[in-house]
Amino acid sequence: MSHSAPVRPAAGGAIGAIAALLEHRTGQQIAASRAWRLETSLKPLLRGLGFASLDDLVAALAMSTDGRLAEQVVDLLLNQETSFFRDTLVLEMVADAIAARRAATPGRRLRIWSSGCSTGQEPLSLAMLLEERGLGPNAVDLVATDVSGAAITRARAGRFSQFEIQRGLSVLRMMRWFESDDFDWVARSELLRRVQFRRQNLVSDPAPPGQFDLVLCRNVLLYFPSDVRRAVFERLAGALRDDGLLVLGAGETVIGQTGRFAPTPAWRGLYTRTPAAR
């Protein structure tokens, strides 16, 4: 989970100011090695607003009173990379773990939180896997959150481009769960209804209400500095049941990051709260 030193406001000029805006609004830092991407990501916005440079954008941000421009900037800077069935084996294991839990406690409705869900492919993939295991809406609740309002709006619409729909999704699942609409593919309402999408800032907003059996937080924590990461682990620990499970991204770990979670021998790569965290 290490990355190169972040861009600091003192790094100067417009890039430093925009990096500070991102960190202030989301807790995320831009590594100095990725600073070059900042201008590339904002180019469409600069062009659309008729700004010649990032300096013009920073000046407009300073004059702005309603925060909408800042929100547009932040949405463009967030890494929204995702796909259906990303790290399929992990998602299969998650669905198996939930199925096993449901079998052990048949009367209880289980709860899953997909945090940092971007445009919704992760929770929708999980909803498909759960359905395939006979775990319908009466068995499992799925809540999915992201800091980006634009991403959540897209997720709620369940509309995906031809490129997005083909990445990771088998043709059989596509036929079962999606309908074509012009050049896009739209999730059937029976699938979309499975997931409650909400906007939530993992750093500054409370977790969704209630306690969860499982929380996915994949490829999110790596963008936070270590103190913010520790605080987010606290929040995730607080959102989980005593026996709840945490799922991180490939290459992410709790080791050396927090004492609130430890690997669970039952499910390889998943974590449970430590006794101290209960």
């Binding site: 796909s83 399929t88 031809q162 490129f163 083909q166 990445r167 990771g168 088998s170 043709v171 059989l172 596509m174 036929m175 309908e179 074509s180 050049f183």
Partner: protein
């Protein structure tokens, strides 16, 4: 090393597909229509076939039906790769025995993901 037979009447598409497949460590063979593809399969069955729909001499669908009815011992996986993007076409391809379906245009990630789904990458 796994073998992929790229069946498409467009040289450009075959070239693009070959380039992507070689970066995915496939040995690539090419055919310009269904008849050539059938001959190629009779000589040696590939692990997977990337198959266009509309081609001269023998279409992708005619080839697929002939392949599935043939006595080629090792039945290759078939991934349709076509501009025919409607649900009716997709359903017809699956019912005829295709294992996966790629809608053109495609990129490396899409192709890799579909090859993983059919278990050859």
């Amino acid at each position: 090393m796994k073998t992929c037979l790229v069946v498409d009447d467009s040289k450009v598409i075959r070239k693009v597909a070959r380039h992507i497949l070689e970066t995915l460590d496939f040995e690539v063979r090419e055919a310009g229509d269904g008849r050539e593809a059938l001959d190629s399969c009779m000589a040696a069955a590939p692990d997977v076939i990337l198959l266009d729909w509309n081609m001269p001499v023998m279409s992708g669908m005619e080839f697929l039906r002939a392949l599935r009815e043939s006595d080629i011992a090792a039945k290759p996986k078939v991934v349709f790769c076509t501009t025919e993007n409607g649900m009716a076409y997709i359903r017809a391809a699956i019912e005829a025995g295709a294992d996966e379906y790629v809608m053109k245009p495609f990129d490396r990630e899409t192709l890799e993901s579909k090859l993983q789904i059919v278990g050859v990458a």
